[in-house]
C-alpha cells in the first residue's frame, strides 16, 4: 500500500474537454426535455420519473456505499470511498428534478385521476409529496454533512482529533445507511408501487433499495476502472480490490435476483388478481421481451459472468459486466414504471426522451469533476482507519 502522503496531495487536473462536454450534454438534455414536455403526450414526464429514479438512486447509492464501508470498518476501500463521495453533488440537482415532477404530477400520478378511497390516508398528493420531498432533502443534507465531517476530520492535527472525527463519521454513516433503507423504501412504495395503486408487495421497498445499491456499485466499478490511472490509484485499486468489488457485485446480483424471485414466486403462486395484474402487464404482450431482457441483463447475466474468477481481476473484463448490469437496471427501472402508465405498448423511446439521460450524464460528470478536482483523491481518514473504533455510544 502506498504511503498516505503519496496519494493525498495529488493535484488532479481533469481533461479539458470534460466541462464543455458536460455543459453541452446538459444543454441538449434541457432542450430535449423542454421540447418533450411541450408536446401533447405525457411520455416525457414518465421518462423524467424513470430517469429521476435511476440517477438519483445511482448518486445516493454511491454515497451510501461509502457509508456502508465505513459502518463495516472495511480497510480495503479508501479509494472506493473517495469515488463514492464524488457523486454527492448530483443530489441537489435531483431535488430540483423532484420539484419538477411534483409540478407535473397530473401527467404521471395515475391515482390522481382514479383515486382509491380506502388508501386516501396514504395516497393523497399533499402528504405524498411532502413525505417524499422531506425524505430526499434529509438524505441530501445528511450526505453533505457526512462529507463535511470528512473535510473537517482531514484538517485534524492530533490523534485525539482524528479519533473524534472518525467516531462522528462512523456514527453518521450508520444513521445514513438506516435512513437510506427507510427513505428509499418509501420512495419505492410511492413513486413506483403506487402507480399501480391496487398492487402491493411488501418486499418491494427492500428490493428497490437493494437494486439501487447494485446499480451504484456497478457505477463505482466503472468509475474506478476508468479513473484509477488518472487519479494515481493503481495500488489502491489493484486486482485485489477489483476482485472484492466484483465479488460484492456478484453478491448484489444474487440478492437482487433473489428478491425479484421471492416476489415473483409468491405472486405467481398466490395467483390473486390484485397482485398478478402488475406482473401480467409486464410479462405478456409488448413488454414481455423487455422483461426477458431485464432477466438476462440485470439478474442472471451479471451473476453468471461474475461467477468466473477471471472476470473480476481485470478492469477490461469487469467493466463490460458492470455496463451490462447498469444497462439492465436502467431497463428494469423503465419496466417498473412505464407499463403502469402505458400497459399495452412500449413508450418513452422517442428522441426527446433520450435527451433526459444525456442531460443527467452531463450533470453527473460535472458533479464528479467538481468533487475530484477539488479534494484529494483519497481521504486521510480512510487511510488511518486504525484510529477508528466502530460505533458505540
Amino acid at each position: 500500500m502506498p504511503e498516505a502522503h503519496d496519494v493525498l496531495h495529488w493535484d488532479a487536473r481533469p481533461p479539458r474537454w470534460v466541462v464543455p462536454a458536460a455543459c453541452a450534454a446538459i444543454a441538449v438534455g434541457v432542450a430535449g426535455t423542454a421540447w418533450g414536455l411541450a408536446g401533447s403526450h405525457d411520455k416525457t414526464w414518465w421518462m423524467l420519473l424513470v430517469n429521476f429514479l435511476f440517477w438519483t438512486g445511482l448518486a445516493q447509492g454511491m454515497v451510501v456505499w461509502s457509508a456502508i464501508f465505513r459502518a463495516a470498518q472495511a480497510t480495503w476501500t479508501p479509494a472506493v470511498n473517495r469515488l463514492c463521495h464524488a457523486a454527492v453533488h448530483f443530489l441537489p440537482v435531483s431535488l430540483v428534478f423532484f420539484i419538477l415532477l411534483s409540478l407535473g404530477r397530473e401527467h404521471w400520478l395515475t391515482w390522481l385521476h382514479h383515486p382509491v378511497p380506502e388508501k386516501a390516508a396514504w395516497l393523497n398528493p399533499t402528504f405524498f409529496f411532502r413525505r417524499n420531498g422531506l425524505g430526499l432533502a434529509l438524505m441530501t443534507a445528511l450526505s453533505y454533512r457526512y462529507l463535511y465531517l470528512y473535510r473537517r476530520g482531514e484538517q485534524a492535527r492530533t490523534d485525539e482529533e482524528v479519533r473524534d472525527a472518525q467516531y462522528r463519521i462512523n456514527r453518521l454513516a450508520v444513521t445514513l445507511v438506516l435512513l437510506y433503507c427507510v427513505v428509499y423504501s418509501v420512495l419505492a412504495f410511492d413513486l413506483v408501487m403506487s402507480l399501480s395503486p391496487h398492487w402491493t408487495s411488501s418486499l418491494f421497498g427492500a428490493y428497490f433499495f437493494v437494486t439501487n445499491l447494485y446499480l451504484a456499485l456497478a457505477a463505482v466499478i466503472i468509475m474506478a476502472s476508468i479513473l484509477r490511472r488518472t487519479l494515481a490509484l493503481m495500488e489502491l485499486l489493484g486486482p485485489r480490490q477489483l476482485t472484492d468489488l466484483g465479488n460484492l457485485m456478484l453478491g448484489f446480483s444474487l440478492l437482487s435476483t433473489g428478491f425479484f424471485f421471492a416476489q415473483y414466486l409468491t405472486i405467481w403462486y398466490g395467483n390473486l388478481p390484485e397482485e398478478t395484474s402488475y406482473l401480467i402487464v409486464r410479462t405478456t404482450g409488448a413488454w414481455s421481451p423487455i422483461a426477458w431482457m431485464v432477466l438476462g441483463c440485470c439478474y442472471l447475466g451479471p451473476f453468471l459472468l461474475l461467477c468466473l474468477p477471471v472476470v473480476k481481476t481485470s478492469p477490461t473484463r469487469l467493466v463490460p459486466v458492470a455496463v451490462l448490469a447498469l444497462f439492465g437496471l436502467a431497463v428494469e427501472r423503465w419496466v417498473l414504471v412505464v407499463p403502469s402508465l402505458s400497459p399495452g405498448r412500449l413508450a418513452g423511446l422517442g428522441a426527446p426522451q433520450w435527451c433526459i439521460p444525456l442531460g443527467c450524464v452531463g450533470v453527473l460528470l460535472l458533479a464528479v469533476n467538481r468533487s475530484l478536482s477539488r479534494q484529494p483523491s483519497v481521504s486521510s481518514l480512510d487511510v488511518k482507519l486504525e484510529l477508528s473504533e466502530g460505533v458505540s455510544l
Partner: protein, 442 residues
C-alpha cells in the same frame, strides 16, 4: 513468541479441552438423555393414540411441532453464516467461534428434521416424499412448497454436515497425533488419514472455498424455502412477499443469539477464554444489532403493507394479532427481537457477559414467540368468522418440545468434549497470517 511456539500453544489450549470428561459431565448428559427419553415416550404415545393427543386440529392444523421445526431450522442458519459468509468476507473474529457454530448448525438441523416427521402422524409414509422410482410410478409433487422443504432441508443437512466435517479433518488429525490406544484408532479413521501434506492442502483449500461459496446461497435459499411454506398460501399474515428475506434475517438473528448463549458457558467450562475472547462476543453482538434492525424493518413493512393494501381481511387480522388474546405474545416478540438487541449499540453491554447472556436468551425467546405468533394466528383467524378458533399445545406436544431442547444440548455437549470446539488449524493460520501477512487459505 516464535511461530512454532504459537502453534504449539494453540494446539495445547484446544486439545486440553478434550481431556477426559468428569463424572459431572456424564451426569448432565444422562439427565439430558432422560429428558429426551421422556420425549420419545410422549412420541410413542402419540404414535399409538393418534394425532388427537396433540392440540392441533381445526382450524389450527400447524401447531407447536411446526413452530419447533421453523425455530430449529432458524437456529441452524447462523452456523453456516458464520463459517461461510464471514469467511468470504474475511471477518477475523469468525475463526475462534465458527466450529461451535457449525456444530450447532448440524445438531439444529437434526433436531428440526425430526419435527415434520413427528407432525406427520403416520410417519411410515414419509418415504412417499423421497423422489425414488417406485412400483406404482408415484412421484412427489414438486410444485408443493412442502416438497421444496424436503429437498432444501435435506440438502442443507448434507452440505452443512460435509462442510463441518471438512473443516474438522485437519483438526481431528491433530487430535489423533496426540492420542493413544483406541482413541487414536477412532480419530485416525475419522481423520481419513490426513497427513498435512501440501498435496492434500492444495486440494483442500480449493474445496473449502468452493464449499463456502456454495453454502452462502444455500443458507439464504433454505430459510426462504421454509418461509414459502407459509407465503405460498393466500392467508392474511402468511401471504406476503417479504417473507423470504425476513425469515432469513430472523434465522440468523436467532442463530447468533443461540451461539452466544452456548458459547458463554462452554468457553468457561472448557477453559477456552484465551481463544474465545470478548472481541468475538462483541462481533456477534454487533451482528445482533444489525439483524434486530432488519427484523424491525420487516415487522414495520409487514404491518405497513397490510394497512396499505386496503384489504379488510388483512386489516382485521393485523389488528387481532396485535390486540387479540395472543397480543401479549406479539408484543413480547417485538420487544425481544427489536428492542432488546439495541442495547448492544452500547459497548458496555457488548462486553458484559451477563448482559450478553440475558440479551441472547431474550432474543431466543423472542424468536420462538415470533414463530408461534406467526404460525398459529394466521390459521386461527382467517377469512371466515365461523371458522375462527384457537390453539393451545397439549402436554404431549410440550414434552416433545422440551425433549428436543434436551436432545440438541446433549448432542452439543457430546461434541464439545470429543471434537475440537475451536478450529485449531485456522487459529494457527490466523497466527500465521499475523506474522506472514496472509489472509486464510483462499
Amino acid at each position: 513468541m516464535t511461530e512454532a511456539t504459537l502453534y504449539a500453544r494453540v494446539n495445547e489450549e484446544v486439545l486440553q479441552s478434550l481431556d477426559p470428561p468428569t463424572r459431572r459431565y456424564w451426569m448432565v448428559i444422562a439427565g439430558l438423555a432422560a429428558v429426551f427419553g421422556l420425549g420419545v415416550a410422549a412420541y410413542t404415545y402419540q404414535l399409538f393414540m393418534g394425532m388427537g393427543v396433540a392440540g392441533i386440529g381445526h382450524p389450527v392444523g400447524w401447531g407447536v411441532y411446526i413452530v419447533n421445526f421453523v425455530f430449529w431450522v432458524g437456529i441452524a442458519h447462523s452456523g453456516t453464516l458464520i463459517s461461510a459468509v464471514l469467511y468470504l468476507f474475511r471477518v477475523r473474529w469468525r475463526t475462534a467461534i465458527y466450529r461451535a457454530a457449525e456444530a450447532m448448525t448440524v445438531f439444529a438441523v437434526m433436531t428440526a428434521g425430526l419435527f415434520p416427521l413427528i407432525h406427520l402422524g403416520r410417519v411410515w409414509v414419509m418415504l412417499w416424499m423421497i423422489p425414488i422410482p417406485n412400483a406404482r410410478h408415484l412421484w412427489p409433487n414438486f410444485k408443493s412448497p412442502l416438497m421444496w422443504d424436503v429437498v432444501a432441508v435435506s440438502t442443507y443437512f448434507t452440505v452443512s454436515s460435509l462442510f463441518f466435517y471438512l473443516g474438522l479433518i485437519p483438526d481431528i488429525a491433530a487430535v489423533r497425533d496426540r492420542s493413544t490406544g483406541i482413541r487414536r484408532t477412532v480419530y485416525g479413521i475419522l481423520s481419513l488419514g490426513w497427513q498435512n501434506r501440501y498435496e492434500q492442502w492444495r486440494h483442500y483449500a480449493r474445496a473449502y472455498v468452493a464449499f463456502a461459496c456454495l453454502a452462502t446461497p444455500l443458507v439464504i435459499s433454505v430459510h426462504s424455502v421454509v418461509s414459502w411454506d407459509f407465503a405460498m398460501s393466500v392467508l392474511p399474515g402468511w401471504h406476503t412477499t417479504i417473507f423470504p428475506p425476513y425469515f432469513v434475517a430472523g434465522a440468523i438473528h436467532s442463530g447468533l443469539a443461540m451461539v452466544i448463549t452456548l458459547l458463554i458457558p462452554i468457553r468457561k467450562w472448557l477453559r477456552l477464554e484465551r481463544l474465545v475472547t470478548l472481541k468475538h462476543f462483541e462481533g456477534m453482538a454487533q451482528m445482533l444489532v444489525f439483524m434486530g434492525l432488519i427484523m424491525t424493518y420487516s415487522y414495520g413493512t409487514e404491518a405497513f403493507a397490510a394497512w396499505y393494501s386496503g384489504n379488510k381481511f388483512e386489516h382485521q387480522f393485523s389488528a387481532w394479532r396485535a390486540f387479540g388474546p395472543l397480543g401479549p405474545l406479539f408484543w413480547g416478540m417485538v420487544f425481544c427481537n427489536c428492542v432488546v438487541p439495541m442495547v448492544f449499540f452500547f459497548k458496555r453491554a457488548r462486553t458484559n457477559l451477563t448482559v450478553l447472556m440475558v440479551g441472547s436468551l431474550l432474543v431466543n425467546v423472542g424468536m420462538y414467540l415470533e414463530r408461534f405468533v406467526l404460525i398459529i394466528t394466521s390459521t386461527a383467524h382467517d377469512f371466515l368468522p365461523t371458522a375462527w378458533g384457537s390453539y393451545a399445545p397439549t402436554i404431549v406436544e410440550l414434552t416433545i418440545t422440551v425433549a428436543a431442547f434436551a436432545w440438541f444440548f446433549m448432542l452439543f455437549l457430546l461434541f464439545a468434549k470429543h471434537l475440537p470446539a475451536v478450529a485449531i488449524m485456522e487459529m494457527k493460520e490466523q497466527a500465521l497470517g499475523a506474522t506472514h501477512g496472509g489472509n486464510g487459505h483462499g
